[in-house]
């Protein structure tokens, strides 16, 4: 029990750190990170309640795959990752690249001997994992239920104060 709670605490800590790092690293990286920067501009960072999700899922591997040393729920993954061994890192951003379509990542897709060629980027991993589960568990699924949109986001979506002045009911073509 103690072990489990310390794991949880560690998980919370690591996740918070990784979330902070993930947001910060967007800005710190080389020029290619502009895109991610732009994205961070459109929505505020997520206030993720890790403990709540630990309580709901009850199994770290639901989100963390095989990295937390709790085994894996996916039979497909267990062929290689069946061992109950905690990895050096459990943070999403350490495996899921913030730039899934950089030249380096595109090159990665071409590597014949690599098994995980089809790995989601960080944003894709978050949304597929979170949204997929939220749909099944009746969690919030609206964009702004998890992260509020910023002014730049409103501008991009032509919404809020940037909404079209006279919205017509589209009838003609």
């Amino acid at each position: 029990m103690f072990v489990a709670s310390s794991l949880n605490l560690r998980g919370v800590f690591l996740l918070l750190i990784s979330l902070l790092l993930a947001v910060n690293s967007y800005a710190m990286d080389a020029p290619e990170t502009v895109q991610i920067n732009a994205l961070a501009n459109y929505y505020e960072p997520v206030e993720f309640d890790h403990q709540l999700h630990v309580d709901v899922s009850g199994d770290c591997s639901v989100c963390h795959h095989h990295t937390t040393g709790t085994g894996t729920t996916d039979l497909y993954c267990s062929k290689c990752h069946g061992q109950f061994e905690e990895m050096v890192t459990v943070s999403c951003a350490d495996c899921h690249s913030a730039e899934p379509f950089s030249a380096e990542s595109i090159h990665r897709q071409s590597q014949q001997d690599l098994f995980h060629v089809d790995m989601n980027g960080l944003m894709g991993a978050y949304h597929q994992n979170c949204l997929g589960c939220h749909q099944e568990m009746d969690g919030p699924t609206g964009c702004q239920e998890c992260h509020a949109r910023t002014e730049a986001g409103d501008k991009l979506y032509h919404s809020g104060e940037f909404a079209p002045k006279a919205p017509e009911s589209a009838a003609s073509h």
Binding site: H127, H158, P167
Partner: protein, 312 residues
Amino acid sequence: MSNVSRRKFLAGGLAGGAAVMLAPAKKALAAGSFTGFPDGMGVLVDLTRCVGCRSCEAACNKEQNLPAPELPFDDLSVFDQTFHHGTQKRRPTEDAYTVVNRYEPENLDKPVYRKIQCNHCNEPSCLTSCFVNAYTKTPEGAVIYNSKVCVGCRTCMVACPFHIPAYSYSKVLDPIVKKCIFCYDSRVKHGKPPACVEICPAQALTFGKRKDLLKIAKMRIKKAPDKYQPEIYGENQVGGTGWLYLSEAPFEQVGFDTTLQKEPIIDNVKGFLGMVPMVLAIWPALFTGFHLLATKHKDHGHDDSHVEEEEQ
């Protein structure tokens, strides 16, 4: 003397015409075997992942400096819009190079969202139908368009099997064809993913080399055969497209034309187009020859001398 030189001239003309005919005809036939540039890029659209947030539409609007939309991009009521008495969902226009539509397939308990845009064919029919060569298929895989040479005939709009190119009817002066250009100038040329791919939160869009995307798509189908149709839309349609689709629902239920041929559209007219140079090069010489044979006994030289005699 003059008769001999004329025959020699005609014979030479025929031989020359035949030589001219053979070269371009061969080239025209060979053109049909083009299956795309080896390192051409593409996008794999996984419809099982799309949540219909329309972020791709917003990103496209910004990237391509398109006019402000009639409704905000977070307004999901656009999915209820239909045109032509409910027979048609939204299509790309001069103001929106990509649109997302919602479908409700029979055996699925949730809606399916499908993004449409130019599919960037390996052998585009817009390109092959354009008689001023306004279109270019770049080695990066993008099908781009040069408005400076376009004469506005809109044959490309008829030729496109996906009904993608739109026309700026709103412009009185100098209207042009408008369509998705794969963000070529601003992004893909520099190795960056198009704006829609970059913003997609669920990574429903995967950017990569077309050959790698085919491999990834096949892996996804193999890993979850119950979740996917056993087909990649765009792998074989009209000679293959740069944009590829995976779907849980049968493709015809989510707006795809599953009746398209496997061969590029140009294949339908390749035989005829191969004949054009032959007609242009041979027919004048051939029929001149026939004419001269038919009028052989009415010797011009004799007539001329007769005139000369009369004059004398």
